[in-house]
């Protein structure tokens, strides 16, 4: 998919261990980045953000989702019940509820099954609760992918807005740390990467619409593309040529040298990270500075969306948070940058982000 867009970002909402709030909160964090000791979002912090009735009714990952979505909508100035599409990317969905549902049966047989938990075993439970919370009645897509679910959601939402099929899209990514998955990754010796949890949302709408209603434009997704790079399932491939990056550059009428900096999906999964470095090196021979926020926040689908919001901030400020042992902020060329995602199995996304 390739989209030449002119799609404006008018709202940001983030719930994570390191930063919670809107674009201003994100900017403050990125300007002085500090990795939290634990990437899990504290129960007390979540309770402070969520309405008690929703806290009772919604699973934890749904609470994260609804909270971040509302923050983004509030910053955008759009009202509840606006003509909104929804796109949410997730890697594991509400796996905690799935375990709880299964454990009920394993403990007590059919009598132990919870009819309330069952709907949460389907990955679209987060988007269903969010649609109800914000009154969104247009298309609603839950996209599942390893590593790049957040970036993929933003790319798909950009296409929806650019095509004119929906007036605006609330797009997010969300995941929570799951004890079973973490345990299995440790047993398999695959726990090298820093994993995290949280939700991040953006409001996307046509630039002209945003200007017409007087909204603050935080940045633009100028072009978006996603492709499959050849790989075995769950594997790391050898393909270097990125048709996704080529496609976004072509759609934006840009050259590789126009990309001033990159937010990549590096997360300390070393074979995957080396593959991504090779792909970026082949596509952008000038070697622009590359950042990944994975070491700060831990990899989760929300991080992919947060990277796009961070890219809008970098495009405005000319500052790029970099983590090499310690976190610091580098000065880069303001303006155009790339958000890049590449997953084991070959899911591959490129987004060009510009200042407003």
């Amino acid at each position: 998919m390739t989209t030449r867009s002119g799609v404006a970002i008018t709202g940001v909402g983030i719930v994570s261990a390191a930063v919670t709030g809107d674009s201003a909160a994100l900017g403050a964090f990125l300007a002085a980045p500090v990795a939290p000791p634990d990437t899990a979002f504290g129960a007390g912090a979540l309770a402070a953000l969520v309405d008690p009735d929703e806290a009772r009714r919604l699973s934890r990952v749904c609470q994260l989702t609804v909270t971040a979505a509302r923050l983004a909508l509030r910053e955008s100035g759009l009202e509840r019940d606006a003509a909104l599409g929804l796109v949410v990317g997730t890697e594991f969905g509400d796996l905690g509820s799935t375990h709880a549902f299964a454990d009920g049966f394993l403990a007590r047989g059919p009598a132990g099954l919870s009819a309330l938990l069952f709907p949460n075993t389907v990955m679209n439970t987060m988007i269903a609760t969010t649609a109800i919370a914000v009154g969104a009645r247009e298309m609603a897509l839950t996209l599942n992918a390893p590593t790049v679910a957040g970036e993929l959601a933003v790319a798909r939402a950009t296409a929806a807005v650019a095509s004119g099929r929906v007036p605006a899209v609330l797009v997010g990514g969300v995941d929570e740390l799951d004890s079973v998955v973490e345990h299995e990754l440790r047993r398999l010796g695959l726990a090298g990467e820093r994993r995290g949890e949280g939700a991040a949302f953006l409001v996307l709408e046509p630039r002209a619409t945003a200007h017409a209603r007087g909204a603050t434009v935080l940045g633009e997704v100028s072009a978006a593309a996603w492709r499959a790079l050849r790989s075995r399932p769950w594997g790391v491939g050898r393909a270097r040529r990125s048709q996704a990056i080529e496609a976004v550059l072509r759609a934006a009428g840009a050259q590789p040298g126009d990309v001033g900096w990159v937010y990549a999906s590096a997360s300390d999964d070393e074979p995957r990270d080396r593959w991504e470095e090779a792909v970026l090196g082949a596509a952008l021979p000038g070697g622009p500075p590359v950042s990944s926020l994975g070491r700060l926040l831990g990899r989760h689908a929300g991080l992919g969306v947060l990277r796009v919001a961070a890219a809008a901030w970098t495009a405005r400020s000319g500052l790029l948070p970099v983590v090499n042992g310690t976190a610091h902020v580098a000065r880069v060329r303001p303006g155009r940058g790339l958000v890049h995602g590449l997953a084991r199995g070959g899911a591959h996304v490129a987004l060009l982000v510009d200042a407003a």
Partner: protein, 394 residues
């Protein structure tokens, strides 16, 4: 926007592997819902479902759902006459819900019952619905845009709508799209817990209906731009002339009582196709057999098309609710109904519900020269999709 046509079909259904078996079973009104054998059913009120017979072809190292998907997608590509070169830039959109959960459950159950389970990358990976797309992409060499949509029971239909948009917007000229799901314990137990399963084979639109029956399968279609299909003189089954996707924003499991979201999806599909309601002769209904769904769907159909305005039937009466595969298998049924001029029946329909003001084609298929039909799919979370097909090249 480019016109989108259907040039290839592939199905693995409770009738077995292949399109021929699928259509033969549907047209004959054969109900495949019987005692489940894949999973334990002891202690449950409902113990039946529609399983794909035999062992799916392919390596036992792959999940059952992956094998169903590979067989259906490969059949669709072969049916379209497409080869490896055509696949390199083709899009792949997969609708999925359960992923390889059948195998992941077995692994998880083992840990709970035996106190230990082997460390397994496959078990962790199998939980993800996106595993099917990775497998299909690798196996069939599909290198274009690829994504996996999870919209509960409408996933297979959403995948087709997504692929149609990629072609209509000029991003690709060819896409492989569809849905897949194998029967899983969690799905079976969950619908039992919700008391949405009929202990007898489901009876959509019957006054005595008591719920749905679960099923499994895979349905994949090849979608192409009309220009490309014409240039290579491909056989065109139908034109996917329009689609509509909406959300109820009402309740996580229950549809909005007036069917507003369904009406908006059907209306959007008509508008996209430039079709008047009177042009549509047949609706392949979501038709789950639950009292609530069928009543609300019938109300929504009547609001859009008028009472008695078209023939309505439900494939779920024969193959059960195949979850993420339902939308694409039922789209295939709709396309084949247009192709053959035959409306598949609603099996097990004995006493039509007086609140359903349509001829629901009870038990025996009906010859009908069709030119335009819709396929409805709805899912948990209020996710509504309508696909509108026209026979041949519109």
């Amino acid at each position: 926007m480019k016109s989108v046509v259907i040039t290839g079909l592939g199905a693995v259904s409770p009738y077995g592997a292949g399109l021929v078996a699928y259509w033969k079973g549907l047209a004959a009104g054969v109900c495949t819902i019987r005692d489940l054998t894949l999973i334990e059913t002891e202690g449950f009120r409902c113990r039946i479902g529609a399983e794909v017979p035999g062992t799916p072809a392919g390596s036992a190292r792959r999940t059952r759902a992956d094998r169903l998907a590979i067989a259906a997608a490969a059949e669709a590509l072969a049916d379209a006459g497409l080869g490896a070169r055509d696949c390199r830039a083709a899009a792949l959109v997969v609708g999925a819900v359960g992923g390889g959960m059948l195998e992941a459950e077995a692994w998880y159950w083992r840990g709970a019952r035996e106190g230990a389970r082997p460390a397994s990358v496959r078990a962790v990976r199998a939980m993800l619905p996106s595993a099917h797309a990775e497998t299909l992409s690798s196996r069939l060499g599909l290198g274009g845009p690829r994504h996996t949509v999870v919209t509960a029971c409408s996933s297979g239909a959403v995948a087709l709508a997504e692929a149609a948009e990629l072609i209509a917007d000029g991003v690709v000229d060819v896409a492989v799209a569809g849905g897949v799901d194998a029967i899983t314990r969690i799905c079976f137990m969950g619908f039992n817990a919700l008391k949405l399963l009929d202990p007898a084979p489901c009876r959509p639109f019957d006054q005595e209906r008591r719920g749905m029956s679960i099923g499994e399968g895979a349905g994949f279609l090849v979608l192409e731009s009309q220009a490309r299909a014409r240039a290579r003189r491909a056989r065109v089954y139908a034109t996917l002339a329009g689609h509509g996707m909406t959300t109820d924003a009402f309740h996580v499991t229950a549809p909005e009582p007036e069917g507003d979201g369904m009406v908006r999806a059907m209306t959007a599909a008509l508008r996209a196709a430039g079709a008047a309601p009177a042009e549509v002769q047949y609706a392949n209904a979501h038709g789950t057999g639950t009292p609530q769904n069928d009543r609300i769907e019938a109300r929504a159909l009547a609001r859009v098309f008028g009472e008695g305005g078209l023939l309505v039937s439900s494939a779920k009466s024969m193959i059960g609710h195949t979850m993420a595969a339902a939308g694409s298998l039922e789209a295939i049924a709709t396309v084949l109904a247009l192709e053959h001029g035959v409306v598949p029946p609603t099996a097990n329909l004995v006493t039509p519900d007086g609140d359903v003001p349509f001829d629901c084609v009870p038990r025996v298929s009906r010859a009908a020269p069709l030119t335009c039909a819709i396929s409805n799919s709805f899912g948990f979370g209020g996710q509504n999709v309508t696909l509108l097909f026209r026979r041949g090249v519109a």
